[in-house]
Assembly symmetry: C2
Homo-oligomer: 340 residues x 2
Amino acid sequence: MSRAAGGVGRVAVVGLGLVGGSLTRLLAARGADVVATDTDPGTRSDARAVGLAVADDLGALCAAAPDLVVLAVPLRAVRATAAELAPLLTGADTTLTDVGSVKGPVRAAVRAAGLGDRYVGAHPMAGTEHSGFGASDAGLLDGAPWAVTVAEPGTAAAAEPARLAQVLRLVTGPLGGTAAVVTDDRHDEAAALVSHVPHVLATQLLNAVAGAPVRDLALGLAAGSFRDGTRVALTDPARTEAMVTENAAWVAPALRKAVRDLEVVIGALETNGSLHDVFHAADDVREERTGRARTGGPVERLSLAEGWTPRVVDELVSRGSAGSVVVGVDADAVHLRPPR
Amino acid sequence: MSRAAGGVGRVAVVGLGLVGGSLTRLLAARGADVVATDTDPGTRSDARAVGLAVADDLGALCAAAPDLVVLAVPLRAVRATAAELAPLLTGADTTLTDVGSVKGPVRAAVRAAGLGDRYVGAHPMAGTEHSGFGASDAGLLDGAPWAVTVAEPGTAAAAEPARLAQVLRLVTGPLGGTAAVVTDDRHDEAAALVSHVPHVLATQLLNAVAGAPVRDLALGLAAGSFRDGTRVALTDPARTEAMVTENAAWVAPALRKAVRDLEVVIGALETNGSLHDVFHAADDVREERTGRARTGGPVERLSLAEGWTPRVVDELVSRGSAGSVVVGVDADAVHLRPPR
């Protein structure tokens, strides 16, 4: 449960945008052995200027023989980057992970490049409305909740336990975060609900006001609920579009449900019907969130007495799906915090 | 344009909840002559304990001969409170205003009590997810953007210019705020877009996660977009229900538009269609908001050489509808800041 960088080996970060830059800065600040690269020469020189170790290209990055390669490129670039990376990853031990906001499509792209066996998915649940290395900050990912994902149980490339351990040590070690271990599908379904659908609704809110006859008045009157409700709509729209499109399989049904829910509200408003049930449906969550801070129960210990076996992976996925998160990994055990 | 309390006379605040309490605290802090009341004895004694002047009931409040009465009761209590207030407002000069989040229905309630001629609508665009006097704070409304509303031009009870002046002096004087002067309808349409629809969407987001099979995982992974997108759903759901229901005439069509917009997104996601136009529809607003702070042009001056005539009211409504806000009132002129 230490934040020391020991035990994670050499980390190579591909892409120095908001997330890749923040990740590299945080790892460097924690004393990890980290090297990064970016296709943009200006970005590379900006990163060198703040003291980061930067390789000129993927070849130079892989020549540094990293233990872990983190893909931090835009979703639309994952397939091409993975293909370019494949012949360069000659060391059998190098594990590949990423920071993408969808996991099933990234695994498919990585498999297409022949790197499926090396891959463990990862997604930090943190971001800002800004983009690029200039907006990156060591604090952005410090202590973030991550999802760390494996393929569906029983599929050919089930997570290699040792590779999962490597990524969990990175997240809960120098990055100071927590990790929910789940399958790609579970992740993508949950991410649709807590990230992609919110982005679509925020975009709709912003579009509706931007196109309204009362636009100037409305923008002048806009206070907290509109500011909060549209903040993520101010992020790079191309990035949002990619995120939403890549996860269409989960976002579309979640939006269908949103439409049905809104039609219930409209029906009640147009017939003087009661909205009581709509506004009280989530009272239990509301009470949890407005009450004392959400703290989990006591940390539990999953023994590693038999090492990182497939059984350990299954157990982590089962607990992760139920809301437990990994908070630390040591030689003897994985430490998990159960949901509140 | 001074923040001094002079010139606003004695202000009486009915209701010491979040907004009424914050209003009373701010007016007192600015040295205004303010007295308040609340139906709850505990709230009255809490308010007295922090040094505010508190009357025991509406009778005692009105006996203090206020120049301006501010209704700060819940929307569902406006009708009954106005009826109780009517026989007590014996001074012909007393003006009535409020802080309600919808304006047409409040004017209807006030008219039903025979107080329509005294009434100028007002709505501060500020709030928190908390309620009650305990959550009130002088800072909440300090400098807030307000809407100040008049009836439709030509209706029987068109705003008495002197009463409008009184409310504008209060808002831009000791409250340090700005005021968009508009009709009730314009306000209610804009408020549906920037406040009521965001509340409904936030509630839907929260409900969808609360009812999802992946609920615990989703709540564990929830980061900025979900937190921001649901913040206002954590407010008192009964208050939100009242606000949305009272403004049904504007909220229902705005939600119908939201449904149509979401169906476009769903259609594109299900057919691999492009979402480019959806995600770029509000690029102009996005640029304004992410660029330098939104500052208006130079402050303009609307002469009061002929006094507070109906023409001045019409001019303020016309400019308010176009996005200009009143930033100050003095003996010679109304000062307005045009939209950016």
